[in-house]
Amino acid sequence: MADAAGLYRTVRLIRRFEQHAIELVRGGVIPGGIHPYIGQEAIAAGVCAALRSDDVITSTHRGHGHVLAKGSDPVRMLAELAGRETGLNSGRGGSMHAADVSVGIYGANAIVGAAAAIATGAAWWHRQTGSDRVAVTFFGDGAVNQGVLLEALNLAALWQAPVLFVCENNGFATSMRVRDSTAGSITGRAEAFGIPAETIDGQDPELVLAAAEVAVDRARTGGGPTLLECLTYRFDAHHTWEYLARPRYRTAEEVAEGSVRDPLRIQGDRVPEQVRDGIDAEIEQLLETARQFVADSPEPDPAGALDYLYADGLRARPGVS
């Protein structure tokens, strides 16, 4: 859904999903907390609107938006966050590892920058086998100083792999500002490898979509990788742990200023009120259904704690003899 209403729906779905998830964290239903994507929704919405269902993405610790925008079922996603057997990963992955192969999601990854090489390898193999599927790897500004990500840029360029590197520059690696962590520039890293790179407004879903369409078309038609640096702002905590720990790395004034350009409002203004109201109501209903589904879903049986450890069904020895 790449029209204005479709983009609005994706942004709205992510925003409301995250707000519900935060409530469930506070209520103890989601263990371990989450990394809220609030404020960054335009990037997932715009990039994924440029993709086909069989294209592949890798996501990050702040990954709910990518999973939802790529087309995964929000109901089973919420169940995954709550660690239920009915979740996307049968409760084995949780917030930081959500995956849905049926719509090309090769997993959110909890190690910063780690998935870029995985996406590059998948993209390479797609091309080797004659497919025109592309891969997208999302990562934050914190990842651009990880060696494996820089190595992946080199491989992708050498192989002209059909992969899109999407950097969500929200200004902070947890508490560290980009200017304190990153020498040179983010696009300059890609350009050093001969990869076309562009810095775009990451708050406007339509601008993100337009840039992503160019990059995806380039990849699909043999033109190789692209890096998009999407300038954005994280409106909420790095992690819900912040609600208790209250680390001081930015002021309330700065957050208020950074949150002025809200993708929900930017895209909402492009959609007739009546259409918007209909979408909003549908999403509320969907998320109520999701919460009820979570409440009705069983916790996994502890006897199956190491199910799926090996693809061939090998059973690990128990921890007692």
């Binding site: 090489a117 199910d307 693809a311």
Partner: protein, 322 residues
């Protein structure tokens, strides 16, 4: 009958499997010119699309193999030097190995990590001489250490066909082994199945990799005095515990010879499991590298920290006297 070298066994397994399955491809450094002799002929036969020379970017190409495997490939990665595994421990232990469980079985990662020479080689010194199979067995990555050319062939074939990540360590000390083989009878060797090279009744010697040959030599020396059973696990993870239990039912005595550092080496696990669960009539013993060993350069020093036949002989005699 042809005489097959250890590396030729690995090379033949790669060739046969690439011939059989178009999803098999090989990644590595200098594999086009076959610096380690394992990939000889592959580039010419299968082309640069399936035999991919890599830049020195181990972390990226290890995870690229993970991604390709998720998308349907069966990559084999050659690492010339065992210490490169420390660079990619994240990519193997924390990425490739964990996707099956973390995704509730949605993704599988059939990648084979091939070490064509692991352990001490004369003059290779501190950073090229480790033999880190115990680390991977500890993590739970399927870990294979063949001792003979036919086992090298058969275990590599099974490793490539396995749907999980598998790491295969060819011990430097075994790569000089040769074996008369009938190529027609070469076959896959299942993972997780041990091999008794020599039956015995007094003591079971579990020997890992090249140390199998030392154990056979010591058993020969002791023949007539002590009847030694030489037990080659072949796969360290999953370990063939039922076969070890059956051997100890016969002998009741256990010595392990293991080219790992002592603390948390596989030898420690074998002794612990035997002590907890199996028949032992005497306290078991193990021979290993010392705790925390770094192999020194000078040959005499290097040899001083590797398990030796003399140590093995002494341990066997001590266990049998007990």
């Amino acid at each position: 009958m042809p005489n097959m070298s250890f590396l030729r066994g690995l090379n033949r397994a790669l060739t046969d499997e690439m011939e059989r399955d178009p999803a098999v491809c090989v990644f590595g450094e200098d594999i086009g010119v076959a610096v380690s002799n394992v990939t000889i002929g592959l580039l010419k036969r299968f082309g640069p699309e399936r035999v991919i020379d890599m830049p020195i970017s181990e972390q990226a190409f290890t995870s690229a193999a993970t991604g390709a495997a998720m998308a349907g490939a069966r990559p084999v990665i050659e690492f010339q030097i065992p210490a490169l595994l420390y660079l990619v421990f994240e990519q193997i232990a924390n990425q490739a190995h964990k996707f099956s469980l973390m995704t509730g079985g949605q993704l599988k990662v059939p990648v084979t990590y091939l070490l064509p020479s692991s352990g001490s080689r004369p003059g290779w010194a501190g950073q090229h001489s480790d033999h880190p199979y115990s680390l991977f067995a500890h993590v739970g990555v399927k870990t294979v250490v063949p001792a003979t050319p036919t086992d090298a062939y058969g275990l590599l074939l099974s490793a490539i066909r396995d749907d999980d990540p598998v790491i295969l360590f060819a011990p430097s000390g075994a790569v000089a082994q040769r074996e008369d083989v009938d190529y027609e009878t070469l076959a896959p060797v299942p993972l997780g199945v041990a091999r008794v090279h020599r039956p015995g009744t007094d003591v079971t010697v579990v020997a890992v990799g090249h140390l199998v040959h030392d154990a056979i030599a010591v058993a020969d020396e002791l023949a007539g005095e002590i009847s030694v059973e030489v037990f080659d696990p072949r796969t360290l993870y999953p370990f063939d515990w039922p076969a070890l239990a059956a051997s100890l039912e016969r002998t009741g005595r256990l010595v392990v010879i293991d080219d790992s550092n002592r603390s948390c080496g596989i030898g420690a696990e074998i002794l612990a499991t035997a002590a907890e669960e199996m028949r032992l009539v005497a306290p078991p013993r193990r021979i290993s590298r010392p705790d925390g060993a770094v192999l020194p350069f000078a040959r005499a020093l290097d040899l001083a920290v590797q398990p030796s036949r003399e140590q093995l002989r002494g341990a066997i005699e001590a266990v049998v006297k007990n």
